[in-house]
């Protein structure tokens, strides 16, 4: 069996994500600076390796690297890690690391198990269209931002519960401040929402240019994308209208469930094959 360079680098990426998730997870319990630094450094290297793996895959198949289920899982994982690195750099939210890197590990691992081929031949003309690339990249990036926003919402609810109940206050030394996680969650949605809007609009533009038939508005992914757009729009509206933060955190939890559905649901209109 011949293993491609891209697959080897992706294997190394998988290992790095596991080590990063384990280091940052252990740091949550043990609070050792060495574990924190290791986790952060490994996350950066993981993202770089992953970028290289995606690039190699691109060169290998001579097309955009998001046609097969395996490729789109890998792309999502990479963007989740990028979103985590941004969150870490801006808010020092290392508590989100085990979630982000653990999720990336699962997604890349899932990519290994997912089909590497699609039923059909990838359509180079379709994939070279900028509207299609923009549609996919913007949508996947928004989902990555929403995944991290989910993590922030979860952390918010945990921290809020501890501070209110006064039980497990020792954990507060390991967890980020309440206001910080709430602000980070909002910022991630504020970033993800326009990206999703861009993804949906570019998808509509492409669909209107023809070739998808008349049924695309009722395609499952299309409908779910609108639902996801609606729920995160609701979140932003609720935030602006000063809903209680606990309630808006629950909106983000529900939002991710819809995001998962959106990503994994099969769709006839989203097959980039001829």
């Amino acid at each position: 069996m011949i293993v491609s360079a891209g697959a080897l680098v992706l294997g190394a990426t998988l290992a790095l994500y596991l080590v990063g998730a384990a280091s940052l997870g252990a740091n949550l319990f043990l609070r050792r600076p060495a574990l924190l630094v290791t986790g952060r450094v490994v996350a950066v290297f993981g993202a770089l390796f992953h970028f290289a793996a995606i690039g190699l895959r691109c060169a290998e198949v001579a097309r955009a690297p998001f046609v097969t289920p395996a490729e789109s899982l890998s792309l999502l994982a990479w963007m989740v890690v990028l979103a985590y690195l941004v969150v870490e750099a801006l808010w020092r939210l290392s508590a989100a690391g085990p979630f982000a890197l653990g999720l990336a590990f699962l997604l890349v691992g899932g990519a290994g198990l997912a089909p590497h081929q699609v039923g059909g031949v990838a359509d180079p003309a379709l994939l070279s269209e900028s509207a299609v690339s923009l549609h996919i990249i913007a949508t996947v990036a928004s989902l990555a931002a929403f995944a991290l926003a989910f993590c922030c919402a979860g952390l918010y609810l945990i921290v809020h519960h501890i501070l209110k109940s006064k039980h497990g206050l020792a954990w507060m030394k390991r967890l980020p401040p309440l206001v910080t996680v709430e602000q980070a969650g909002f910022a991630l949605v504020a970033l993800g929402f326009p990206l999703l809007t861009l993804g949906i609009l570019s998808g509509i533009v492409r669909a209107l240019s023809g070739g998808l038939g008349a049924g695309w508005p009722l395609d499952t992914k299309t409908l779910l994308a609108v639902a996801v757009w609606g729920i995160y729009g609701l979140y932003l509206l609720a935030r602006l209208r000063a809903w209680p933060p606990v309630r808006t955190a629950y909106v983000l939890l529900v939002g991710l469930a819809l995001c998962l559905l959106l990503f994994f649901v099969p769709s006839a209109a989203h097959r980039f094959v001829s």
Binding site: K164, A170, M172, L175, P176, L178, V179, P244
Partner: protein
């Protein structure tokens, strides 16, 4: 080391030998230096301990070690008192590696009344600097204190000995940071101008809280406190509207009933758009109705809650301190061994090198006699060449001798090496010189 501490002496005893008054330490060092002659000394004096570290200088005869019976009265005299024989029972004495380990533990905060407190590091530094300025600390104590500070830093970093709350004020800051993160731009409202609320407000200001409002029944007192905190005094009767703008409220009035009611806070929350409100009630009886804590966005902590945080952190620090014990013990042992190795290895190495130098000098003299036609420049070249040969030959034995000195049976190995090189334990070089024709 001879000294007393909170573990061995009550405060009534400790205060009689404290050198904490301005200039007292410097004056004592002058006195001690005169009395101890060639010996080195460092005097460490804090409110919890007075300890005198003494090291034998190079010119002090072996076996002439002072002990507690001589150093304790010396300390008393350095303090300007008589011998204080009634205090003799409170002194402890530690020698060799036990003294080293004790200093390492003290510097790391492991011997402090509040384990892990950081002030001790500054106090150890100050004590050493004072001794150094007074030329009371020599090379040995200089190495010891630098090493103690290095080990303290390592222990504190690796085991987070300085982390966690040390007081109710610290706990309030920790909780505020758990809610708000950075405290920059946060508004603190003080209800009551008591000592405890002042201390807590100071901690919060030091942590970044930018604005302090002080309300007290006596406005003048509020104004005075506000001035020291760079804040603003407000009328006590008019504090309610300020609740809406405050992020942190510290209540410590002497009122016999709650002054911050649920209705009051509910009213204040209306304009806050769910901005969290951290209420610290350190008054007894309590100033804030307990049911206020049930409101959304309100985090109410009373004195017991904050003490629980302090106690919990203290317990965690003690656990970490037991782990740091091992590190400090190993470091102290290693330092003591290195010191001992230097003591035993260096004389042998210098004897060996002195013998080689003497041999070289004698050989050069003989060469100059036998070959009179050699110019001084030629002789210098030959001498330099001999020197290089000696350095190369002596290198390996020097390394080995230092290794032997660190070994478990170091003394035995050093004795064997002496025998091998034909060097007696004293005056080896001189003997070598005598034997050289």
């Amino acid at each position: 080391m001879v000294g007393l501490s909170h573990q061995s002496a009550p405060v009534a005893v400790r205060e009689r030998l404290a050198f904490t008054a301005p200039g007292a330490l410097e004056r004592a060092l002058v006195h001690l230096k005169d009395a101890l002659g060639e010996r080195e000394c460092v005097l460490l004096s804090t409110c919890n301990r007075t300890e005198l570290y003494v090291a034998q200088g190079n010119n002090v005869a072996a076996g002439d070690d002072p002990d507690a019976s001589t150093l304790a009265p010396l300390l008393a005299r350095a303090h300007g008192q008589s011998d204080l024989p009634e205090l003799a029972g409170y002194f402890t004495e530690r020698r060799g590696h036990r003294a080293v380990e004790h200093l390492f533990r003290v510097a790391a905060g492991l011997e402090s009344m509040i384990v892990g407190e950081s002030d001790i590091v500054r106090q150890v530094k100050t004590s050493y600097a004072a001794a150094s300025d007074a030329r009371a600390a020599g090379p040995l104590l200089s190495r010891l204190f630098h090493e103690a500070l290095r080990v303290a830093k390592r222990a504190r970093t690796e085991y987070d000995l300085g982390k966690g709350a040390f007081s109710v004020g610290h706990a309030a800051v920790d909780m505020a940071q758990s809610i708000f993160g950075r405290l920059g731009g946060r508004v603190v409202l003080l209800l009551g101008a008591g000592k405890m609320s002042e201390t807590t407000a100071r901690h919060l200001s030091a942590a970044g809280a930018s604005s302090v409002l002080v309300a007290n029944r006596t406005f003048d007192k509020a104004a005075r406190l506000a001035e020291t905190l760079n804040g603003r005094a407000i009328r006590y009767e008019a504090f309610a509207p300020h609740l809406a703008q405050a992020d942190i409220v510290i209540a410590s009035t002497a009122a016999p009933h709650a002054v911050v009611t649920r209705d009051l806070v509910e009213g204040a929350l209306k304009g806050r758009r769910h901005r969290p409100l951290f209420l610290i009630d350190i008054a007894v009886p309590r100033d804030i109705e307990a049911s206020v804590g049930e409101l959304d966005d309100v985090f109410l902590y009373n004195i017991d809650d904050l003490r629980a945080v302090v106690d919990n952190d203290e317990a965690e620090r003690r656990i970490r301190a037991t782990r740091a014990d091992v590190l400090v013990h190993d470091e102290a042992l290693s330092f003591a061994q290195t010191l001992r190795a230097r003591e035993t290895a260096l004389p042998l190495v210098s004897s060996l090198r002195a013998r080689m130098e003497a041999t070289k000098t004698a050989e050069m003299a003989r060469l100059a006699q036998r070959l009179p036609h050699l110019s001084p420049a030629d002789l210098r070249v030959i001498e330099a060449s001999f020197g290089a040969v000696i350095a190369k030959i002596a290198h390996e034995p020097t390394v080995k001798i230092k290794e032997y000195a660190l070994a478990d049976n170091g003394d035995e190995k050093i004795a064997t090496a002496r025998e091998l090189f034909g060097l007696s334990s004293s005056g080896g070089a001189a003997a070598a010189e005598e034997k050289t024709p």
